[in-house]
Symmetry: C2
Subunit: 234 residues, 2 copies
DNA sequence: TATTAATAACTGACCAGTCAGTTATTAACT
DNA sequence: AGTTAATAACTGACTGGTCAGTTATTAATA
């Protein structure tokens, strides 16, 4: 009688992972170095990479540590735990970009359409071409389990990003370039497009047949939003 | 010296959960009933609720079972496992809606703007006002860990939804109501807005101060998309 | 050698899936 | 109608593997 094989726990498939490097190298070589200054950013890089790939709950700190070239215990020398690590990642990966765009908007002089084009291009580039684009996915995924994380993200990122976009639209309305639209809801359309871009590039595209060209997408967004799709004839 | 308290494992806080009802009720009462026909849909309802709240990985089948009023073992009588359960949930919660909208689009005669308005309102209602709106969040969250699930969702939902929206836009272009726009990228703008709606309502809003009015949002989306935001004067 | 960065073994909580046993229901037979 | 045998729905304790966080120990450096 052939025994029915037990169904394996449907746990994440980790067979393709590189084995840890041999830790028992010859005694003459140093096993590790003290690199207090470099560790934090190396750890954050590693953490963002693994969080982006697995999501928050499913990443093992052992993996983050291995990727950063340290042991798990070392993570706790620099960060308070998994949740604090994610917050630090968000701060490092997103906030400098936000600040850069904010000051650009503050200093800008010229047509609002060009400004809109420029900042959507910048945001789209960050979300679509860097690992930071995976952060929305990570936060959204854990919203039910880690409410504190959502509040943090709302306060530090969403609120600021929305204010930024509102400012650009309001600027156009004030100057007469744009109609007196419903700014708050139009900001949400812009945010939705950026969110789509981020999620497509970081969650979907690798499994799909179609690819998305970031610049074409952002360009089309602005063009359609400015001129509408209605036929001028009609 | 006050001993530093050990940090609790940042596990999902389950203190607020109702205890299981007492299983050792008097022998005269029935402990359970055979309800073969009703079980599957009750289980699917429970599963969607818990998946929506916790996400896929973090939901315990014990919770799904408790919510459905059965034991964990029973889940396995009706479904092959956790992943199959999620697939069944998606099929039950989303596909009938899609089919309904598809046939509406097929049968529709009248101005394309009105059609666009109507189907975005319908989609927005489903994503924003029913538990089905949590499904995008659930799928996106697990994209890195369960690729098979993403492919399933791409094939069964995304592809069909995009085709639907393409059809509506192409219809307007063909009739001359709309300009000859970049349909594929404009579909993504629509999809992005619907995604925003779904994620806001199902992941963010309960933690935020602002609320989003679904009908206003959908109405504004169509209005802005049709007419654009550029001032007619300019 | 004193200090401290870093390691790695350890603890305890966790949970998907299994299966031997229990109970409700149905059918067959008085 | 009442009894009993057979069936199938259902239960829940158990297994085996997972992983965040802790800590005793070791090794690099000043």
């Amino acid at each position: 009688m052939t025994k029915k094989p037990t169904k394996p726990r449907p746990v994440i498939d980790r067979r393709d992972e590189a084995p840890r490097p041999d830790r028992h190298t010859p005694r003459t070589l140093k096993r590790w170095r003290r690199r207090k200054a470099a560790r934090p950013s190396e750890i954050l890089d590693a953490a963002l990479a693994v969080f982006a790939e697995r999501g928050f709950s499913a990443t093992r700190l052992d993996d983050v540590a291995a990727r950063a070239g340290v042991s798990k215990g070392t993570l706790y020398l620099y960060f308070d735990g998994k949740e604090a690590l994610l917050k630090a990642v968000v701060r490092e990966a997103l906030l400098p970009n936000l600040a850069r765009i904010e000051s650009r908007v503050g200093a800008y002089e010229g047509p609002s359409r060009k400004l809109l084009d420029e900042i959507l291009g910048t945001i789209g580039g960050v979300l679509g071409r860097t690992r930071a684009g995976a952060i929305p996915k990570i936060i959204i995924a854990e919203s039910g389990n880690f409410p504190e994380l959502v509040r943090f993200y709302l306060d530090e990122v969403i609120r600021r990003a929305f204010a930024l976009l509102s400012r650009v639209l309001a600027r156009g309305v004030a100057s007469g370039e744009f109609r007196p639209i419903d700014v708050a809801n139009t900001v949400r359309v812009l945010a939705g497009s950026m969110l789509f871009l981020a999620l497509w590039k970081n969650a979907i595209e690798s499994h799909a047949r179609e690819t998305l060209d970031i610049d074409t997408f952002c360009g089309n967004l602005v063009e359609v939003l400015i001129h509408g799709i209605a036929s001028p004839a009609g």
